[in-house]
Amino acid sequence: MSDTSQFDYTIQSELAESSRIQEEIMAVLRQLGFEDEDLADLHIAIEEGLANAIKHGNQLDASKQVKIEGVFDGNKVRIEIEDEGSGFDPEDVPDPTLEENLDKPSGRGILLMRAFMDTIEYNDKGNRLRIVKSCTVHG
């Protein structure tokens, strides 16, 4: 696993497109030989990142696009997801684990990404997400 490889996709802001592209991305990741637990973590993070970009970023406007870039360097996976929305400040998202927020819908996706990835960060505008994870490769 010393090779560096990458992918670039652009999709319309439709959830069905998100599902389709996730299958393609996961097929690529599986070929790289990562362990199942890492693949599951990555799948959850990619789903959450794309759902946020499509629903909250592009407001389900199918005329807007979402770009997905992936770079694999050895065992490290870096994925960037960019929408055409006005962005947001992740600090403004309520903590969904607080008692008063437990039954509210916001913030769970970001929290899951934080839990399952090594790094998650947004650009200053808040419309481009970067997630990074070091994975274990099958012996």
Binding site: A16, P96, L102, D103, R108, A115
Partner: protein, 131 residues
């Protein structure tokens, strides 16, 4: 011993059963088992959500056990449906318990502090016993 709790009285109900859930009745408790391994796809999640709500709204079931035995992972959107279903069950003074969560799913529930919201058991027999 525990398996006797379910006995042989399990009945498959709802002839036009929703395709995303296996529904069984056991000792007055409705046990719904998810058929999907991944609850990530929005279309699937919408279907599952509607089929869950129907258990209370259309069939009047108040004691529900959700069996996650086959589920590997689920998204925050699917968890939103689950939380809404929980509220629906509580609104009719019902009771909901979850069981058979795989480690990955347990991790998701813990990260989101949802283990404080839901009553979670190791297996369905324990859920049926406690409900």
């Amino acid at each position: 011993m525990e398996s006797r709790l379910l006995g042989h009285r399990k009945e498959h109900i709802m002839a036009s059963a929703p395709s995303r859930l296996d529904i069984e009745q056991a000792d007055g408790v409705t046990v719904a088992t998810f058929k999907d391994r991944r609850l990530l796809d929005e279309a699937t999640i919408d279907l599952v959500g509607n089929q869950l709500y129907s258990l209370v709204d259309d069939h009047g079931f108040h004691k529900v056990v959700l069996d996650f035995n086959d589920v590997e992972y689920m998204s925050s959107s699917a968890l939103g449906k689950l939380i809404k279903f929980h509220k629906k069950v509580l609104s009719v003074d019902g009771s909901l318990r979850l069981c058979n969560l795989k480690p990955e799913l347990q991790k998701i529930f813990k990260v989101l502090a949802l283990h404080k919201v839901f009553k979670i058991d190791k297996n369905r027999d324990k859920s049926i016993k406690k409900i």
